[in-house]
Subunit: 117 residues, 2 copies
DNA sequence: CAGTATCCAGCTGGATACTG
DNA sequence: CAGTATCCAGCTGGATACTG
């Protein structure tokens, strides 16, 4: 196993256009229903939300709880194992803030964020 | 500025098929010439190597030193600022190793790495 | 409510040939 | 040696319509 394989393994969890936002939502709000997640991320559509959640579930980061009732109810939350990832994400998030500032200092406010999210 | 913007900012540095490998090479070997990098990453081609290095340079992670001579000589290294990122990468790398083991435990050795790097 | 199916545009990466 | 230019295949994300 090559060294960078570990990086890839960790990165593969985070890569995907909506995964960071989804993770952030679940980390700060705890358990959320599918529709709550959708409301909290206005620009996402059902297909993408489902897809990204399934990938996070496959990697055991997110837990999916299905209530067998009509109308259906499905709740998502960070799994026990997934909480280990949250800890790793914190320094990354902090560094991200630093980096935005650094880019602003180098290139100016306008060009740094690229899309001003 | 939304919260996940920080994540995106940090992730954008790492995303790109060859960036983790390039970073790892420069971190462990220090200063390297373009051709040395190319030799150390057999499957990469010049276009990709150039492109990824330019992006890392734009983000001030990698320093590019051009020696004005014939034949040309260009050396790459992690910038002072970039060293701050290396520290953040370490926990990510460690977690990556954990995650590979976790996936192996869940799904078995064969399906975990997907391509056995 | 919580999805799935289909189809398509745009971006990313790669093969190949050329250059100061 | 250290690149640039061109062109194209495949993957990722998104719009839209349908469903148990």
């Amino acid at each position: 196993m090559k060294e960078y394989c570990k990086f890839e393994s960790a990165l593969s969890i985070l890569v995907g256009k909506w995964k960071p936002v989804i993770l952030l939502q679940l980390i700060s709000n705890g358990t959320m229903r599918f529709s709550e997640l959708q409301k909290s991320i206005p620009d996402i559509n059902k297909k993408m939300l489902t897809q990204q959640l399934r990938e996070l579930e496959y990697n055991d980061i997110v837990h999916r709880e299905v209530y067998n009732q009509v109308p259906p109810k499905v709740e998502y939350s960070i799994s026990e194992y997934g909480k280990g990832l949250s800890a790793v994400l914190q320094p990354l998030n902090d560094w991200g803030a630093t980096h935005i500032a650094h880019m602003n200092a180098l290139y100016g406010e306008d060009r740094a964020g690229n899309e001003s999210k």
